[in-house]
């Protein structure tokens, strides 16, 4: 096979991928996923009100609004989401979540109504004004099995946004939201499409 035919074949494959949307279904590998557990088989997820465990709480964030955004992103992958509007009732920080203490996890999950309970933890949100403006956000997410009291999925998402120049300086007030959205998008990129995605669509 000549060089030109290889080039034509690879060009054809790339065009085909773009047309069929293969590039859009890319799923990143989560930091942790329980062995043998298939997230795509889960039908329903209870989404708790996000936890704010930032060191720096200068930026105002709306946890309810973030919960809504998370819910929309998960629903797009064909999972049923039940938003739990109340606080978890226990003080939570990232160290406690990482510790994997079953009693602690069961306490958190108590508010959830379905077997699989998701918690999003906001770890950092910041904006900076330079010649332009920037925004950074860091979030982590956990899915717990309420019955066994263990984490079955865990991932992190970071968002770095910014725009230089005078226009960028005017955009500073929106940088925190932008960064949070990018971080959430990166967090949920490791959640696969629900197995009935095409059927539900």
């Amino acid at each position: 096979m000549g060089k030109s035919s290889v080039f034509h074949a690879s060009f054809f494959i790339v065009v085909l991928m773009l047309i069929t949307g293969c590039a859009g279904t890319y799923v990143t590998k989560p930091i942790y996923s329980q062995e043998g557990f298939h997230l795509e088989e889960v039908q329903q997820i209870s989404l708790l009100l996000p936890v704010d465990s930032r060191f720096d709480k200068k930026e105002n964030i709306d946890l309810k609004k973030i919960q809504g955004k998370c819910s929309d992103m998960i629903k797009k992958k064909a999972y049923q989401v039940l938003e739990v509007p109340v606080n978890q009732g226990v003080k939570i920080d990232e160290d406690d979540l990482k510790s994997g203490n079953q009693v602690f996890i069961k306490n958190i999950c108590a508010a959830g109504t379905s077997r699989y309970v998701m918690l999003v933890n906001i770890l950092d949100v910041s904006t900076k004004l330079t010649f332009g403006s920037t925004g950074n956000a860091e979030v982590s997410g956990y899915i717990f099995d309420k019955d066994s009291g263990v984490a079955i999925w865990h991932h992190k998402g970071i968002g770095q946004v910014g725009q230089g120049g005078l226009l960028g300086m005017l955009m500073k007030s929106s940088m925190d939201n932008e960064a949070v959205m990018v971080a959430l998008h990166n967090l949920f990129s490791s959640i696969p499409l629900q197995k009935d995605f095409k059927k539900n669509k």
């Binding site: 770095q160 910014g162 230089g164």
Partner: protein, 230 residues
């Protein structure tokens, strides 16, 4: 003899009282600054401790982690020994400066004393203690320390740094980003007899820890109330 215009003299009196008012305000501003600088919570607590007391100073728990995937980073990459010395040095300063009669026990002078083993047994809990979380295992060590000296305190501290991707500038699109690294320093002073947290502090700085950085050194001093600027 110079005779002043009555209008001018009234104006001068008004100016004088304004000047006094400004002087008083400036004076009050500086006084409040001094009070803030000298009377941080830890300094008050240290001053109130009995001169016979012992302060057991733990080595700081240094933890470095990647923001992206939570993988731990070897603290040696950040000159952990120097950072360790910086934190211990500032902790000692804060104690000695405010109560010079107190005896400080740390890894340097605990060798071949009864405290050596106790210091080692508290090492795994250093981070938890700095957060003011005291478990049963730590409490049992506290009891042993209290048996050596009834008036004993433990000063625990931890430095946790999340190392994130750096900033960038894309001249093509005008897109820019700032680094997302952040460091947190926590300190807790605990009374061994009761296991009560007498004082605790938690401060952060948007910077990678560095013993060479004057900004970072100032931040550690600020955490102990030794500087009024982060």
């Amino acid at each position: 003899m110079m005779i002043l215009n009555p209008n001018l003299s009234t104006k001068l009196i008004k100016c004088n009282s304004m000047f006094r008012l400004i002087l008083i305000m400036v004076g009050l501003f500086f006084c409040s600054g001094q009070v803030f600088c000298l009377e941080s919570g830890l300094q008050e607590k240290i001053k109130g401790i009995s001169p016979n007391a012992v302060v057991v100073l733990l080595s700081p728990d240094l933890k470095f982690e990647s923001v992206v995937d939570e993988s731990s980073i070897d603290p040696a990459f950040f000159d952990s020994e120097k950072l360790d010395s910086l934190c211990i040095g500032e902790a000692k300063n804060a104690v000695i400066k405010n109560n010079s009669q107190l005896r400080i026990i740390d890894k340097g002078n605990a060798v071949r004393t009864s405290y050596e083993v106790l210091l080692l047994s508290l090492k795994p809990f250093s981070g938890q203690l700095a957060a003011g979380k005291i478990n049963q295992d730590a409490l049992s060590v506290f009891r042993k320390i209290s048996a050596l000296n009834n008036e004993s305190f433990v000063l625990a501290h931890d430095l946790y740094a999340k190392i994130g991707p750096g900033g960038y500038w894309n001249p093509g699109t005008g897109g820019i980003a700032s680094t997302s690294s952040i460091s947190r320093y926590r300190i807790a002073l605990i009374r061994c007899l009761t296991g009560d947290v007498v004082w605790k502090s938690e401060e952060y700085i948007r910077q990678v820890p560095s013993y060479k950085s004057s900004k970072f050194i100032r931040f550690i001093k600020f955490s102990y109330g030794e500087s009024n600027q982060k």
